[in-house]
């Protein structure tokens, strides 16, 4: 039913007549889009300028030639091979663990019967409202005492812990798409609970996992607060933390900093553009009826 409804609306959108007022709206939105692109243009433009151009010519003027040396400098100053690998590992591993954990937790909560399971759901979901940003002091203290600070598994542990709430909530909203009859049939055939999950439920939840993974990946990739607290050692730093120190070090010569920004934004933008559909689905859970 819900599918039917959505499909019909997709047609409606194209059926709206293109009138003079639509044209006016189009014109206004084009101006808005240009304004939104302006800062991005500035970043790109600066990232290709020489130092001389930076100081002597107008900031809006295009560079005479593309200065790839800025990118080389950015790679070196950011220690890019290390920081990029670190960020990638933290993001990828955290997101995979989150997918495994949240999927199975949300499923068990929705299939179990009794007060405990209802309580568990509330317990997890309340975490969405608890801002870990406000609790960074004890989060650091606990990590320090458990020897989690300045370790890879420590920061991954924290990303998982702070991401679980939203993950369970998101996965739970997809559980109704798994037909109970299939699970029951499997059980009659003698499938254990764990096997039922991995053989029957897991494959059916693929779109849900894609949504979960891209939502969390984008958060973790851009995280600053936790990363700056947990992994301050040189070899373990993340891209965002390295960029922040570059900003304060290169306050006047910021062509390198701008190149660094391009480098750090590119991967997540590519990921978003290729998986847009899933991303939007994750964002709009609960916002759309039906």
């Amino acid at each position: 039913m819900a599918k039917f409804r959505r499909a019909r609306q997709a047609e409606d959108v194209t059926q709206k007549p293109y009138t003079a007022s639509t044209f006016a709206v189009q014109a206004v939105m084009t101006v808005v889009a240009v304004l939104f692109l302006f800062p991005l243009f500035v970043i790109l433009n600066y990232s290709f300028k020489t130092k001389k151009e930076l100081y002597l010519t107008s900031p809006l003027k295009l560079p005479d030639s593309l200065q790839w040396a800025n990118y080389e400098a950015a790679l070196k100053k950011l220690n890019l091979t290390t920081t990029f690998t670190n960020t990638f590992i933290y993001t990828a591993v955290s997101v995979l663990i989150l997918a495994l954990l949240c999927g199975v937790t949300a499923w068990a909560i929705s299939r179990g019967k009794g007060k405990f399971f209802k309580f568990s759901f509330v317990y997890f979901v309340i975490g969405i409202l608890i801002p870990f940003q406000a609790l960074f002091l004890p989060i650091y203290t606990i990590g320090y005492k458990m020897h989690l600070t300045n370790t890879r598994y420590g920061i991954i542990f924290m990303y998982v812990a702070t991401g679980i709430s939203f993950g369970v909530f998101l996965m739970n909203s997809f559980m109704s798409t798994v037909p109970l009859e299939l699970e029951e049939a499997a059980r009659i055939d003698g499938c254990s609970v764990v096997r039922t999950y991995f053989v029957i439920v897991f494959p059916l939840l693929k779109p849900a996992f894609a949504t979960l993974i891209i939502m969390q990946a984008f958060q973790i990739w851009n995280d600053y607060l936790l990363a700056s607290l947990y992994v301050s050692k040189k070899g373990l730093k993340t891209l965002t933390v390295a960029i922040q120190s570059l900003f304060s070090a290169q306050a006047s010569d910021y062509t390198t900093a701008m190149a660094a920004i391009v480098v750090s934004v590119l991967p997540i933008s590519v990921l978003f553009l290729s998986l847009q559909k899933y991303f939007i689905k994750g964002m709009t859970v609960g916002a759309v009826k039906g």
Partner: protein
């Protein structure tokens, strides 16, 4: 019947075991810090020594009298209110505009969305340079005299940060409104049209009520997100000029880590968590009661 019950019991036990790992991690990483913050907030701990001297509620009493803390809250509240209004209004306006049948809707959607993929630390730095180096150039080109140095003055710094924050997040909330708009069944509009409702009437009497779940998500998301502002300030204003743009989280950081007043900082944390939870609950309750049942 009896057999069925033991079967469910057996399965419940396995379901329970599946929930345990997630629950343990969540409890250690989120709930335990919350309880620890509460405990430390009643001590004068400096974060280093073994002993944690209990001081009762004196940290909270001092907070009440702390002019700097009040100023940090005042800034955070103004920042939050401005964001909640501006972001919701523009996100909804842009969503309606994109849904009005314009061509290349997806291109606009992507352009407006891209800024939120950029880390807030980077957004802060980019706007710092925009205000100080790039935008003043426009004055020279157009011969105007607009003050673009928004981060340099305590009176304009809030405006500057709100603009930067909105550039980053409007597209995100717009997408949620857009999804909401596209799920409104078109027969509702037809019925309203037949009844002679004008476009404005249709917007307020059909669109807005049908968007209620999206409005709830956006209002709560923007409010709680703004109350937690920190990353944006790190590389832009650093809380200045003076203390003009110091947010609550930034003040917790300065107090507990640079100022070594861990107990006092924890009291600030607890205050922030309590207020955030209260605001979210009041908003959810208030907005949910306005949502129509369909």
């Amino acid at each position: 019947m009896n057999k069925k019950k033991t079967m469910q019991d057996k399965m419940n036990r396995q379901y329970f075991l599946l929930i345990v790992p997630g629950m343990v991690i969540f409890t250690i990483g989120v709930i335990l810090p919350l309880l620890l913050a509460l405990r430390y907030s009643f001590t004068s701990w400096d974060g280093m020594t073994v002993e944690k001297e209990s001081v009762g509620i004196s940290n909270y009493i001092n907070l009440w009298k702390d002019a700097n803390f009040r100023q940090a809250w005042w800034f955070t509240i103004k920042f939050t209110i401005a964001n909640t209004i501006v972001q919701n209004v523009f996100a909804l306006l842009f969503a309606v505009a994109l849904d009005s049948g314009i061509k290349a809707q997806k291109v606009y959607r992507t352009i407006l969305f891209i800024p939120c993929l950029v880390s807030a630390v980077i957004v802060g730095f980019v706007w710092l340079k925009l205000y100080s180096n790039v935008l003043p150039e426009l004055n020279e080109i157009f011969g105007t005299n607009i003050n673009f140095l928004l981060f340099g003055d305590g009176k304009t710094v809030l405006r500057g940060l709100v603009i930067a924050n909105n550039w980053q997040w409007i597209g995100y909330w717009m997408l949620i409104y857009l999804a909401g708009l596209q799920s409104v069944p078109s027969d509702l509009y037809e019925a309203a049209k037949v009844d002679g409702a004008s476009a404005v009437q249709r917007f307020f009497n059909v669109t807005i009520p049908m968007l209620a779940p999206a409005i709830t998500i956006c209002v709560v998301g923007i409010t709680t997100g703004s109350l937690k502002v920190y990353d944006l300030l790190v590389s832009s204003t650093g809380g200045g000029p003076g203390r003009a743009s110091t947010s609550v989280i930034q003040m917790i950081y300065a107090t507990a880590i640079s100022g070594r007043q861990y107990g006092y900082g924890s009291a600030m944390s607890v205050t922030l968590v309590v207020i955030l939870l209260m605001v979210a609950m009041i908003q959810v309750k208030g907005l949910k009661s306005k949502e129509v049942q369909s």
